[in-house]
Amino acid sequence: MQKRVSTTLFDKIWDSHVVKSLPDGSALVYLDRVFLHERTGSVALESLKAADHAVKNPRHAFATMDHIVDTLPGRGDKTLMPGGENYIRTMRRASNEANLTLFDIHHQDHGIAHLISAEQAITLPGLVVACPDSHTCTLGALGAIGWGIGTSDCEHALATQTLRGTKPKQMRVCFEGDLPPGVTAKDMILHLIAKYTASGAAGHAVEFAGSTIEHLPLEARFTLCNMAVEFSAFTGIIAPDQVVFDYLQNRNYAPKGELWEKAEAHWRELKSDSDAVFDREIVIKSEAIAPTITWGTSPQHAIPVDGKVPALNEAVDENERAAMKVALDYMGLNPGQPIEGLPIQGAFIGSCTNSRLSDLRAAASILNNHRVAPGVRAICTPGSAQVKRAAEQEGLDQIFLEAGFEWREPGCSLCFFAGGESFGIEERVITSTNRNFRGRQGRKTRSHLASPAAVAASAIAGEIVDVRKVNGR
């Protein structure tokens, strides 16, 4: 009898989507869903039309407005960003012409692409989902392959319902044991990237596993998978379990009745075989992770919040030393200085990384009965209309507003230049987002990535604080 070849979760999904293996070792891979946003999707749809290609399966194609749209209350098509309105109107017209389902600005289920793709159960376990956005890997938390692509590949995806790709190598990252108090999924992923660098998973799809992951709530799993791209992974994925099935059941696009039963039975088989071989394995002891924050301009520039900015001689080579020097200069920091206690002028909670209900609850529990320090501009942007409504039903909006936070409409917001807004020059900002790149949140703005709780605690203190000290207050 032929021996069955052991396969990984990623293998199972990828292999079952191969339409055709091609002579160069690549494959034409079937896409279950394509999701667009107005910044990259508008160009893709326009360009597709100019080339006289139709969207192959509009029922499997969805779109939202999150990247360009304003998040100020009372917003419309106009944005502070020059030319922004064109993106929004082009996206609306092109989506309608192509018969895509569009979650437009005032749609009751509007929001950031990767949030609504989950909330609507557009993404299901075992699916391959493409989106012209690097954070599509977020959806790996549902046990799907989230495939981030560029605009040209998005045109290919829309026109053919496939992508051509070579199966990446595979890595498993096991987080084992309990997380210490005050430590979140955001700290886990920053810890991982700091240790293995921002290109640590280049060429690999990463499966997150281990006892910590098994006990991790779904919203935290989204945060973890979201930043797989910051680790240079092809994508991040977690085996779907009861937590995922309970979340998806009865949602808008989820299968119903008998079809659900069939689907769930199939999904229960979606896990790596116990003897599956990975090209690389990393094990992290979760108890050793501290609340983590970035000091520099790459997500790998991360340290425990009670640690010190590294010295230049800690760089592994001259290019990294050059990058560290530029980062220190940009951030206005000196090697060896503590990060705790740095005064801040901005605090932002939002983005596809950390803008879900549990993120807002964590921040609100710290903000309750406190005020943001004078001189700190604090903004909260819920990731979707559903999150916003749920938060308002719990009265979280009132806690944010009473603390002195702005309470925004859903969208990408100040994660970058969405709506045309930025933080100020040389302002230091603590942010629940995913990228601390130079200029990301404003010209010369100094961004420190951290968990929503750390953002809230620091906003009150007016300086970067260790959330563990606040929790005991």
């Binding site: 360009s47 560029g150 590949d153 496939t162 290019n319 990058a323 990228r435 200029g439």
Partner: protein, 208 residues
């Protein structure tokens, strides 16, 4: 797409790791629903001087603004060039500016694909090879040109020694012939159709 065969040009060095696509083109420079005319925004945060957020002139310190690097069409860099955001605007800006080849230790995955789709060669090379290219060109960039041959898969330095590089066979073919990716895939349309038919039977819940 224009076929790519051989390119000879001036080469400029950006020797730091993790040059992300927010540096290549900041969000605020992506001001049109078009693939054209984005060259002005290339490396905007580095290339221009600002008062507040207003551009007030060119930053003479930035490599691409130095007279010695006029007409640069080849970039050298380090690890993970083009990481971060998937924005293809980064590649359109590079193309519009006149960049045809980027040589680095490694590239962001999506960025590298975007390059291939737009006729730009993204060539990964070992650090010591990049160091060699740097030594061969950077002291006199207008005279010491690099010659990149996609058909032969070689980069020739001013000392006449060719270095070989790898490129996925398919991307190379597409670039050499200037073929359209979508048209190429559509020849397999009947395979796609029969896959969808079978898959709707085996995974009906996945089909809306």
């Amino acid at each position: 797409m224009k076929p790519f065969e051989q390119h000879i040009g001036v080469c400029a060095d950006i020797p730091i790791n993790n040059v992300d696509t927010d540096q290549i083109i900041p969000s605020r420079e992506m001001n049109r629903v078009s693939k054209q005319g984005l060259g002005e925004g290339l490396f905007a945060g580095w290339r221009y001087l600002y008062e507040g957020t207003e551009k007030v002139g060119e930053n003479s310190e930035f490599v691409l603004n130095k007279p010695a690097f006029a007409n640069t069409s080849i970039l050298l860099s380090a690890q993970n060039f083009g990481c971060g955001s998937s924005r293809e605007h980064a590649v359109w800006a590079l193309r519009d500016f006149g960049i045809r080849v980027i040589i680095a230790e490694s590239f962001g995955r999506i960025f590298k694909n975007n390059c291939a789709r737009n006729g730009i060669l993204a060539i990964p090379l070992a650090p010591e090879s990049i160091r060699h290219l740097r030594e061969q060109t950077q002291h006199d960039p207008q005279t010491c040109l690099l010659s990149v041959d996609l058909a032969q898969l070689t980069i020739t330095t001013p000392d006449g020694n060719p270095l070989s590089f790898d490129m996925p066979t398919f991307d190379r073919e597409m670039l050499l012939k200037g073929l359209d990716y979508i048209d190429y895939t559509l020849q397999f349309e009947s395979d796609i159709e029969s896959f969808i038919k079978e898959d709707s039977n085996s995974r009906p819940w996945a089909h809306l």
